[in-house]
């Protein structure tokens, strides 16, 4: 009894003094454990703009070039100028004047492709990223000195250092002072903090607003299918079906004139709805295409068959009626009839 009463009193006291929460939080502190020094050094690899986190080491432009050609050039090009896989790293758009002022003038020129070294203000960024993420298919496989040498090679390609340069943790700060766009960043905007001030706010106008509703841009017809057939990207039974943007099956003039087809017009048969009732080799609802082709082989039946497709019919192959396919374009009907009549 005494024990129960005491427990009860303890519970009351916990509730009364919010000590419950403290007990929880001290128990919570048993979850997780202290990270060891080796663990921290294995994972804490970031290098900050002030070079906190930069490991000591060095590498030359020459060493970097050899490594680059071996492990990096496939994607980035021998001189870091390829745009085949990634955006160019350098492209000769940085001037001596840029390196003097720390602002890359070509960034205002829309005709100039923006490269990594035109944009990046901080040398640490280049070092950190190569170290953590490169090469593309084997990230974090480079030794510290290899990273230095690759950064040195890129700095040389960007005309920031000479070809006999050796980059090290000792001279990173000196090179930072030469970064072409080191003064090109601004934090003067409203998008860092949730309470930041927006640079552009829309109009609250409700009626007869003064807006220009002239169309200034739209997708040209030839681009409508660049993302595939939009018909296949919308729900196909709802109130808003997709627009057919893929070209309709084409019927070539020569095919109509020659009266034969080298290959089966499968697309045309599907798109025209024939395959709902006909199969190639066996009777389904209607006769097999091969059966029709066999029956009319050698006869000049294309006009007759075109009429049958267009008007429909009943009784030739059985009692099942063939519906009139009046919705089909005449050239499509002609092509289908020619193929059917071409026999085999």
């Amino acid at each position: 009894m005494f024990r129960w009463a005491r427990l009860w009193l303890i519970c009351l006291s916990i509730l009364g003094h919010s000590a419950l929460a403290n007990n929880y939080s001290s128990a919570l502190n048993e979850l997780g454990r202290t990270a060891t020094a080796a663990e921290l050094s294995a994972w804490d690899i970031d290098v900050r703009p002030d070079f906190v986190g930069l490991p000591s080491g060095s590498g030359s432009v020459e060493e970097g070039e050899a490594l680059w050609l071996d492990q990096c050039a496939n994607c980035h090009g021998d001189f870091g100028d390829s745009n085949e896989v990634f955006s160019p790293i350098v492209l000769g758009n940085i001037t001596e004047d840029d390196i003097q002022t720390g602002r890359v003038a070509a960034l205002t020129d829309p005709s100039v492709v923006r490269t990594t070294f035109m944009k990046v203000a901080t040398l640490s960024t280049i070092w950190d990223y190569i170290n953590r993420a490169m090469p593309w298919n084997a990230p974090k496989s480079l030794a510290v000195d290899e990273v230095y040498s690759l950064v040195a090679y890129l700095l040389n390609l960007a005309y920031i250092v000479d070809e006999d340069f050796v980059l090290s943790d000792k001279n990173m700060k000196d090179v930072q002072a030469l970064m072409p766009n080191r003064n090109g960043m601004t934090e003067d905007h409203g998008l860092w903090s949730v309470t930041g001030v927006p640079d552009v706010v829309g109009s609250a106008c409700i009626t007869n607003c003064s807006v220009n509703t002239a169309i200034t841009s739209f997708l040209p017809d030839y681009a409508m299918n660049a993302h595939g057939n939009l018909k296949d990207q919308m729900r196909d039974y709802g109130p808003l079906p997709g627009v057919q943007t893929a070209p309709a099956p084409q019927v070539s003039v020569s095919m109509q004139q020659s009266g034969s087809l080298d290959q089966r017009p499968d697309d045309l048969l599907s798109a025209s709805g024939c395959k709902a009732c006909h199969q190639m080799n066996k009777a389904l609802v209607g006769p097999a295409f091969t059966a029709i082709r066999a029956r009319y082989a050698g006869a000049d039946a294309s006009v007759y068959l075109a009429d049958k497709i267009k008007q429909g019919g009943q009784g030739v192959w059985g009692s099942m009626p063939m519906p009139a396919m009046a919705q089909l374009d005449d050239t499509v009907v002609a092509a289908l009839a020619l193929w059917l009549a071409s026999g085999q």
């Binding site: 090109g184 829309g202 627009v243 389904l284 609802v285």
Partner: protein, 444 residues
């Protein structure tokens, strides 16, 4: 012209190839045509003809011929231990924009917003944006490290985190480059590609402050570095003050564990902030007193201004809205009633109102906000519209609870130019032509 759709009326009639059900065809091919199946066929023809001629013709065979699914035994439970959408929804999938990137590992697959309802994005349709491919992480071997300006650097297992107090909150997630393709001109045809780097989910995990307090973080610190365990070791500088408000170290998404493409087993949730900061496969958080200028905040995700300056550490997704239907690449089936529907959101707070214009922004009317309006979450809006075949320019405009109003594209471009790539939250215009076809346009 689409097969089976009359251009004049915009009315759908049964396409000739589809008036017989596949099951009926298969049944006939296996068992031949008996009397019952013959009647079914006649009914189907009648329906096809009625549709084709536009005349009322007989009874609906889908009613008078009781469908086969009403006359057969269904499939057993757990046929699909993890359920799948109906095969008839095969058009609702993530898609890439051809030519956008040269490699599929540093690329995007967009969410099919045009086919979705409400404000929750199905996890399997959540857009993908990876920087060096996605990875399958064994949760037993995954760790979260907290270091930097802390009294005690810590390591947590996933089990530790699953054991801790959790919160579940609804938040939108938008890539900072969403709508980037549209700065210069109309470049892509549908809302999937213009706005499909957007999602709404319920995220579950441990509130960030709980973990930082456990580590004894320096109260004077103002930055947090979040780092991923993928090959790219994705790193982003986070505004610590903002993150202490509502960030979550999340393991749950829409009631289940995160999908691998979304960072399984851990991702940082930073409500209102652009997606790249929601670091996936989260392995480390470092408390710091200076920003880090990582690759994706020094070379990319910097917003180029007309004067050549790059805005760095842009993070907040300002209020934005888009009509998801009717939208580009769709066609209005016929004249009459339509529910114009769309999504609105704000990285600074809650949606206060959405207005819709059908005349290119000259006149606006309020739309209905559906369901619960939550801070930094998608809000679904609906607007009643009767279309009588007139050309129309559909727009939506959101205002949030800070008083901010979504800008027209011209105003945004006047300030930022067309080369800033990120944070395009301009009003979107869809043009409806008299044929009913809808396309993506810009107005001046």
């Amino acid at each position: 012209m689409p097969v089976g759709v009359s251009d004049q009326e915009g009315r759908l009639r049964p396409a000739p190839e589809s008036f017989l059900s596949e099951e009926l065809i298969s049944e006939i091919s296996h068992r031949g045509v008996d009397k019952g199946r013959r009647n079914l066929l006649r009914g189907s023809f009648a329906a096809a003809l009625a549709g084709a001629s536009g005349l009322a013709f007989g009874d609906d065979p889908n009613i008078v011929n009781v469908p086969e699914w009403s006359r057969s035994l269904g499939k057993p439970v757990a046929t699909n231990p993890y359920g799948q959408p109906s095969p008839f929804e095969a058009n609702t999938v993530r898609r890439q924009s051809p030519g956008l990137t040269q490699t599929d590992q540093a690329s995007v697959a967009f969410t099919p917003l045009q086919n979705l309802f409400g404000c929750i994005t199905p996890s399997g349709l959540h857009f993908e944006r990876h920087h060096q491919g996605w990875v399958d992480i064994d949760p037993r071997r995954h760790r979260l490290m907290i270091n930097g300006l802390v009294k005690e650097p810590l390591v947590f297992t996933v089990a530790d985190l699953l054991r801790m107090p959790s919160v579940s909150r609804m938040h939108f997630l938008e890539c900072g480059a969403n709508t980037a393709l549209e700065w210069g001109n109309s470049a892509v045809p549908t809302v999937q590609y213009t706005h499909g780097m957007l999602s709404g989910s319920e995220w579950t995990g441990v509130p960030l402050p709980l973990l930082l307090e456990r580590a004894g973080y320096d109260r004077d610190a103002s930055y947090l570095l979040a780092e991923g365990a993928d090959g790219s070791g994705m790193t982003r500088t986070i505004n610590l003050a903002g993150a202490l408000e509502d960030a979550i170290v999340a393991y749950g998404q829409n009631g289940e564990m995160l999908r691998p493409e979304q960072g399984y087993p851990l991702r940082l949730v930073v409500p209102g902030v652009q997606g790249v900061s929601w670091v996936k496969w989260l392995r480390r958080l470092e408390v710091g007193n200076k920003p880090y200028a990582t690759k994706d905040e020094a070379s990319h995700y910097v917003d180029l201004m007309p004067n050549g300056q790059l805005r760095q550490y842009t993070a907040i997704q300002e209020a934005k809205s888009v009509i998801t239907a009717p939208s580009g690449g769709q066609k209005l089936l016929s004249q009459g009633y339509y529910c114009i529907t769309g999504l609105a959101w704000s990285g600074r707070g809650s949606v206060r109102k959405v207005e819709v214009s059908v005349d290119g922004g000259r006149n606006w009317q309020g739309a209905r906000l559906e369901g619960q309006v939550s801070s930094k979450m998608l809000t679904r809006f609906n607007f009643d519209w009767v279309w009588r075949g007139e050309p129309a320019l559909l727009q939506s405009r959101v205002s949030d609870d800070t008083g901010y109003i979504q800008p027209q594209r011209a105003a945004l471009v006047a300030e930022r130019g067309t080369r800033s790539i990120y944070h395009n939250n301009a009003i979107q215009t869809w043009r409806v032509s008299p044929s009913g076809e809808v396309d993506n346009v810009q107005v001046g």
